[in-house]
Symmetry: C2
Subunit: 151 residues, 2 copies
């Protein structure tokens, strides 16, 4: 199995970062504006990506863990074949003025080119999360920073 | 062993991207301004990072492969303990208007927190490479985009 790993530090409290990860409204501010679903473990959350009004991707995830201010874990139920069954994990801890987010997208079967793309794109979205929490404005899809011909 | 993977697409020719990876002057435009060394396989290349005029990091790498327009491979000879012995690989291919860079920092012994940091930071520097080639201006250290308390 192969994992995507990232680490960002956000000048904010753990609580504020957690709120942007643990609620559909929060995630809509940095990943994709079309985020809907539950706000409790065992529930589901749905993410839809569009370009010029057309759907280009959609994920359904089960919320596995919501530990206030410290951890959010999702598992992919529906989405691209490479994603189904993988887990997306955010661990939050405080270091001085920074809430540190340790990110892991774990359980890829093969280190395919799509995994390379997703690794870079997750970094971009974590910087969008940082921007959202620090400035009030993120860059969620469809206004996300484009990194290649795969967007 | 654990690897950091990324993929970016740059609106340019493979040749132009290769020049920014295969020469010290090229790398100085997107990774760290203080890059010096050889431009042939078997040679060495040195990267120095500073903050407020003080050295905060330095790497010496051996140039393992320079395949015109398609591949650059370095191996870390000196630097942080976690980096020594690892390889940094750039593969370049053309897809329509984009030169695709497949990046791999391979051979980490453990998926430590520093690896998470480096993964995110490599994404930021690859976006700096994209900016350099597409617009003429990158964001190399010490003017790189900061991602956390670890810079």
């Amino acid at each position: 199995m192969f994992d995507i790993l990232h680490r960002v530090g956000i000048k904010a409290s753990q609580e504020k970062v957690y709120q942007s990860l643990a609620t559909p409204e929060g995630v809509a501010g940095w990943w994709t504006t079309d985020t809907t679903g539950d706000r409790k473990a065992g529930g589901t959350i749905n993410f839809r990506f569009t370009a010029a009004g057309h759907e280009i991707g959609a994920f359904e995830m089960k919320i596995l863990e919501l530990d206030p201010n410290t951890r959010v874990v999702w598992q992919v139920v529906e989405g691209p074949a490479e994603w189904v069954g993988t887990k997306i994990r955010f661990e939050i801890k405080q270091e001085d003025d920074f809430a540190i987010v340790l990110f892991k997208h774990e359980g890829w079967k093969e280190p395919v080119e799509f995994m390379c793309h997703c690794s870079t794109k997750w970094a971009i979205f974590l910087m969008s999360l940082k921007s959202l929490v620090e400035t009030g404005t993120g860059n969620p899809s469809p206004n996300d920073v484009k990194i290649s011909n795969w967007h």
